[in-house]
């Protein structure tokens, strides 16, 4: 009898294990389809549901929260999709959430995506109809993708040609390789240095001359009777002053520029960089030199005029004698 009991127990164990597995299997499938547990219904209206079927998943932020329970026609252009959503989502989904139909993977099942639009709105309620976004049609997507691909191909082709041309152009490479340009630059800067030193000397001379005139103003003014002449003389002196300050300014600018060029070259900027700077440098240096030249010419003229003036003749002679 006890062996019979034992056998019956084993049979019971066998049967209950099998039944439990079956129930578990059915339960899990049911759970995935949201048949058990409490749900609420949300609706959305589409023009095209693209093969969405009963039982397809509904996702919120990419997480399965329910399934499609029913799809029905409202009229000839609108299809209404009923979704069973887990009750806990009532506290999360808002009335202004956006519903769209997507695909699980490129060729997978259709899914309904609910997404938040990040704006304040009350929470959803049972049987709410949510706003929909026109679903992304895989066909459209592929078509666009195809066009984009073609464009990219064309661009790549062009780019290829450009690079080939650059590669084939020996002139550019020669230019880049050539060490003639930096050398030239060097000699130019050296010349500039010499020029500015000379200018300094000239300006020193001019200063001495003008100082002397200023110091001797008392004597000169007493010598001056003719107001017209005296006015002329005043103008002349003013001009000389101007010319001096202009020359000063120029010298300063030249100095800065030279420093800059010096720094550039010392820091080892490449030939292209130097080249870029080149035109402006040359230009401005040219201008400065012209200005300096003009200023010095005019100064010379004024000085000559002073020398020839009978009032200053004696003074100049005295200077010459002192020398």
């Amino acid at each position: 009898m006890s062996s019979k009991l034992y056998k019956n127990m084993k049979l019971g164990f066998f049967v209950s294990t099998g039944m439990a597995l079956l129930i578990l299997l059915l339960y899990f499938i049911g759970k995935n389809r949201n048949l058990f547990g409490s749900n609420f219904v949300l609706k959305a209206r589409f023009e095209n549901v693209q093969g969405l079927k009963d039982g397809n998943n509904v996702r919120y932020a990419g997480i399965d929260v329910g399934s499609v329970s029913k799809i029905k026609f409202i009229n000839d252009t609108v299809v209404e999709v009923f979704m069973n959503i887990e009750n806990k989502m009532k506290k999360i989904i808002r009335k202004n959430a956006l519903v769209s139909i997507g695909t699980d993977g490129l060729v997978g099942n259709k899914v309904v995506n609910i997404s938040s639009i990040r704006k304040q709105s009350p929470l959803v309620q049972e049987n709410d109809v949510l706003i929909t976004r026109k679903p992304i049609d895989t066909d459209d997507m592929l078509r666009t993708l195809f066009k984009t691909n073609n464009d990219i191909a064309i661009i790549a082709e062009n780019l290829k040609q450009t690079i080939m041309q650059i590669n084939e152009s020996t002139a550019l490479w020669n230019f880049l390789k050539d060490d003639f340009v930096p050398k030239k630059l060097h000699s130019f800067v050296f010349n500039l240095d010499v020029a500015s030193k000379k200018t300094n000397l000239i300006l020193d001379d001019a200063k001495i001359a003008i100082d002397k005139i200023t110091n001797g103003s008392g004597t000169i003014s007493t010598l001056l009777y003719d107001t017209v002449l005296s006015n002329d003389l005043r103008n002349i002196v003013k001009n000389i002053n101007n010319a001096g300050s202009q020359a000063d300014e120029l010298a300063r600018k030249i100095n800065i520029l030279t420093n800059k060029i010096d720094a550039d070259i010392n820091q080892g900027y490449g030939p292209i960089h130097a080249l870029l700077k080149d035109s402006t440098i040359v230009h401005s240096i040219n201008r400065s030199m012209n200005n300096i030249e003009k200023a010095t010419d005019r100064f010379n003229i004024y000085m000559e005029a002073l020398k020839h003036n009978f009032l200053f003749r004696g003074y100049f002679k005295k200077i010459e004698k002192n020398k």
């Binding site: 597995l21 059915l26 499938i29 759970k31």
Partner: protein, 256 residues
Amino acid sequence: MQNSIRSKTFFNEVGNTSKFIGNFFARFLQPPYEIQEIFKQCYIIGYKSLPLVGLTGFIMGLVLTMQLRPFMIDYGVESQLPAIVGIAIIREIGPVITALIFAGKIGSSIGAELGSMKVTEQIDAMEVSGTNPFKYLVISRVLATTLMLPILIILSDAISLYGSYLGVNIKGSISFNFFWTQIFESLEFRDVIPAYIKTYFFGFAVGIIGCYKGYNSNKGTEGVGSSANAAVVVSSVMIFILDLLAVQISDLLGFN
């Protein structure tokens, strides 16, 4: 001439089997019920078949997975391996292979047992002892096969899915949880329910054909052997025919 005799025997056999099945349904609800014998047969037919069915199920799941894997990788859908194997096992391979193994083990044993009981007059002895041998032998066995095969198939499915899990993990790596999630995600009621219902018919076919062949065994040891053999062959073929019917019916009902 030969053909006409053959077809006569065939239709005779079909007719007799149908009568036998009719007898089964006419009597199985009539008292007395051989409850003890039904339990005993359930134990022998169900519980005792579990090791064999479990082993074949395990190997089936493992091999199927290992065979499918390279092709899944070639097509870049390796991640779908659990889903594919799960659907294949639950819908088709589990029920049919298990039923075939079951037909081989139980169909032949019923055929041989009843055949030898017939030959050695044990069936007559039962009838004389005031026991309806049809109820005692046939109904108990057919009920046992009908009720036990679905359970065996469920267990076999579970074991072969476990085998498949190991198969996936031989070369790849997948967590136990994720494997089952994948399978349950891909399964639907329409995969499970028809597959489960058809197993009852498989079990019934194995039981009733084994009993019919044994019950109508010819005299002699050769008769016993041939009835055991015929029980296996006919019930295996029946399983495939029923499977075909099942897929057509579930298709008509929109389950596919």
